[in-house]
């Protein structure tokens, strides 16, 4: 099953490779991994999207906790949470595609952030599955380039990851 794991770690050089190295060394999947400093500049927050059986997810959480640089780990799937990912897509917008691309962008509540004679650059945010759905919905031949940030997640309501 797909799990979103959030963690706080020391904002130090090498911390990221300790986490990514752990996943490759133990053969765990990484669907996406995002990391950036938090409002406290000594801490970074990372969101890892992974998948595996309950036993594997339990091991992943334990192994992450074992890393000296990792301060706190939370499996967002243990409760209610919100997930968002940003995708920037460059699509063909010539006479053939222009109207359709504008329409699809509106349907997925995206925004056109750059325009040229032949293409649109569109930003869309949402859960990873919504972004997948957008890609599925438009003509593959129209896609020129995509870039995705990977998912970020946060607990709903009072569910807070803080030290």
């Amino acid at each position: 099953m797909r799990h979103i794991i959030s963690l706080l770690m020391e904002n130090e050089s090498g911390a990221l490779s300790r986490v990514s190295g752990l996943f490759s060394a133990r053969g765990y999947n990484i669907e996406s991994l995002t990391v950036a400093p938090t409002e406290d500049s000594t801490l970074s927050r990372m969101t890892i999207v992974t998948s595996g059986s309950d036993e594997i997810i339990e091991q992943i959480i334990k192994q992450l906790n074992k890393l000296i640089d990792v301060v706190k780990v939370l499996d967002l799937n243990d409760g209610r949470f919100i997930e968002r990912e940003l995708m920037i897509v460059k699509v063909k917008a010539n006479a053939q595609y222009r109207d359709e691309m504008k329409r699809m962008c509106d349907i997925f509540r995206g925004r056109i952030i750059d325009v040229s004679d032949s293409c649109f650059t569109i930003e869309i945010t949402g859960s990873s599955s919504k972004l997948d759905a957008y890609i599925e919905s438009i003509d593959k031949a129209a896609i020129l380039e995509t870039v995705r940030t990977g998912a970020s997640g946060i607990g709903r309501g009072d569910r807070i990851l803080k030290i």
Partner: protein, 572 residues
């Protein structure tokens, strides 16, 4: 600059003094010249110059294994650090507390592909508990403090500190922190009391209780608590390779080692028990074989371990107890002292089964008149040393024979590479052990293949007058490889025959030691007696025993099979 400023190199040395380090095992080189200059100008610890960095780390590792203190190694950048990697990985797999200091090229040269530069922190990352690259002289003291703290607390392990050359030359004041706090690292010590109570009640009410103890008991200095507990509840106990000595082997409750080359009774009892208490052990593949087969006989499993990630890793645990083994066992002993019935009434029946398995006599072997049996050499070694020597070993058949035929009654007497299985550790392990225990008998049980992997250390032994006795079980084969080829590869002995062997007697003599070649069974005991005699008390003796080439290690659980699916000597 104030007058109390000292160089970064001197700061490193002062940190080692603060940590009361007695021995540093190392090898100099460009990036650590400043540090070596500071080593030269102090006399609080002894520097042991090895002949290869791998041996420095192994020797520091054995110093730790045999004393419980943190071992320290010092190597230079680039090849110094990469040579150390095997030693570090070996210590990591067996959770040995160590601090490895490596030199690095100057900070301004990092990333420039400088001479003898490598990404030491990157290369060692997967095989250390933690590592640091110190980029500022102000951080040397606090980093060293953290390194010793992380290495020795929680589940111990090696910690590497990489120090660029330029900051060892700069000057700064020395201020060693009194304590250390890491917000991201708080090892759990005390086990959950509710779980501990549950565990005791399960053990006391079981029909077939069993205890399985591992290296964590030795590392956690919990052997007297374990012994007290096991003797009070009266249950059978087995031990992993790493746990030998954690419970006295001469005790009748002890069933011997379990696992791939464990005794018949230990493996059968593991399989047939209904309540199993695992203490400081990790259910690894060489110990329980196939986990599904292991669980095919239903049992309730209690697991005490300081590392939460060891719990339910290979086998689902019913009662996990995360904590320091010594503290959890002390709590179990406390609870037990308040119980009315301290021993389980079903034990009598359980021991009847066990005695039946014992009567198989699975470790029996036939001595030969002409050929020296390797098991006989180990038995005689046990007799001659009165069972009280420190035994180090390399990796292979000889290691298993040493584990099977030299019963250990005390912890920290059996020094070998369990997890990584590193050939070549035996001699450097004996060096670290002998330096830590100068008056003790130290024997290195090895084979003609393993010993050649760190043979250069005979020179270190000469320089430091280490009277190690090397027990070379020379069967002219990489014995364990040959055994697997015989059993599983149709007797095709691919590259496992050791051709062109040196004359070990002359080799030992050329290094200034005593060499003996023993070819007859009747010479085994006299040779060992002579080697351990007062006459040769100060000398390293290399005993080259020419043994039976065809001897195999039994019993054996083939790879991927279940514990009760052993092959015994009689099956073949």
């Amino acid at each position: 600059m104030s007058s109390n400023h000292i160089s970064g190199a001197e700061i490193v040395i002062r940190c080692l003094h603060e940590e009361k380090v007695k021995f540093v095992f190392g090898y100099p080189g460009g990036a650590v010249l400043n540090i070596y200059d500071a080593v030269f100008q102090q006399n609080k610890f002894k520097h042991v110059l090895v002949r290869h960095e791998q041996a420095a780390v192994h020797a520091a590792d054995a110093y730790s294994r045999s004393t419980g203190k943190v071992g320290v190694a010092l190597v230079t950048s680039g090849p110094g650090a990469t040579n150390a990697v095997t030693g570090i990985a070996t210590a990591y797999m067996d959770s040995i507390p160590m601090v490895i200091i490596s030199g690095q090229v100057p900070t301004y040269a990092i990333g420039q592909d400088a001479f003898q530069e490598c990404d030491t922190v990157g290369i060692t990352r997967p095989c250390v508990k933690h590592n640091f690259l110190v980029k500022d002289i102000k951080d040397i003291a606090s980093t060293m403090k953290k390194a010793f703290y992380v290495a020795s607390s929680g589940r111990p392990g090696p910690v590497l500190v990489d120090i660029p050359k330029d900051i060892t030359a700069e000057k700064y004041e020395f201020n060693y922190p009194k304590s250390v706090h890491l917000r991201s690292y708080n090892p759990i010590v005390k086990g959950h009391s509710g779980q501990i109570k549950k565990a005791l009640s399960l053990l006391l009410n079981a029909k077939r209780p069993m205890i399985y103890s591992g290296g964590g008991v030795v590392l956690g200095d919990a052997s007297s608590q374990l012994t007290k507990f096991v003797r009070t509840i009266g249950s059978p106990i087995t031990s992993t390779l790493m746990g030998l000595g954690g419970f006295p082997a001469s005790d009748k409750q002890f069933l011997g080692m379990l696992g791939m080359h464990g005794t018949y009774e230990a493996n059968m009892a593991m399989q047939e028990c209904d309540v199993l208490l695992a203490v400081g052990a990790r259910f690894d593949d060489r110990v329980i074989g196939n986990p599904e087969h292991f669980l095919s006989k239903p049992k309730t499993i209690i697991h005490i371990d300081i590392d939460p990630s060891s719990i339910s890793k290979r086998v689902k645990i019913d009662i996990p107890i995360v904590g320091d083994v010594i503290s959890v066992l002390a709590e179990l002993n406390d609870l037990l002292s308040k119980e009315k019935t301290k021993q389980n009434p079903s034990l009598k029946h359980w021991f009847k089964d066990i005695d039946q398995w014992r009567s198989m006599n699975c470790l029996s072997f036939k001595n030969d008149k002409k050929l020296i049996k390797p098991q006989f050499v180990i038995q005689t070694l046990h007799k001659v040393t009165k069972g009280d020597a420190f035994i180090t070993s390399d990796v292979g058949q000889h290691q298993m024979w040493a584990a099977q035929y030299y019963p250990f009654n005390k912890p920290r007497r059996w020094i070998n590479s369990g997890g990584l299985g590193t050939m070549g550790v035996g001699l450097p392990y004996a060096m670290g052990t002998q330096l830590a225990h100068p008056d003790a008998q130290v024997a290195c049980v090895t084979g003609e293949a393993s010993i050649q992997m760190c043979i250069q250390e005979l020179s270190t032994c000469k320089q430091f007058h280490l009277p190690i006795k090397i027990i070379n079980l020379n069967n002219r084969y990489m014995g364990m490889v040959r055994q697997w080829q015989e059993f599983f590869y149709g007797n095709r002995y691919a590259e496992s025959y050791m051709e062109a062997l040196p004359d070990f007697v002359k080799l030992a003599e050329s290094y200034g030691h005593v060499g003996m070649k023993i070819e007859k069974p009747s010479d085994v005991e006299p040779a060992l007696k002579e080697a351990f005699s007062n006459k040769l008390k100060e000398r390293l003796v290399f005993l080259d025993f020419i043994t039976d080439q065809k001897e195999n290690v039994f019993p054996m659980v083939p790879n991927g099979k279940g514990l009760s699916e052993m092959i015994t000597a009689e099956d073949l």
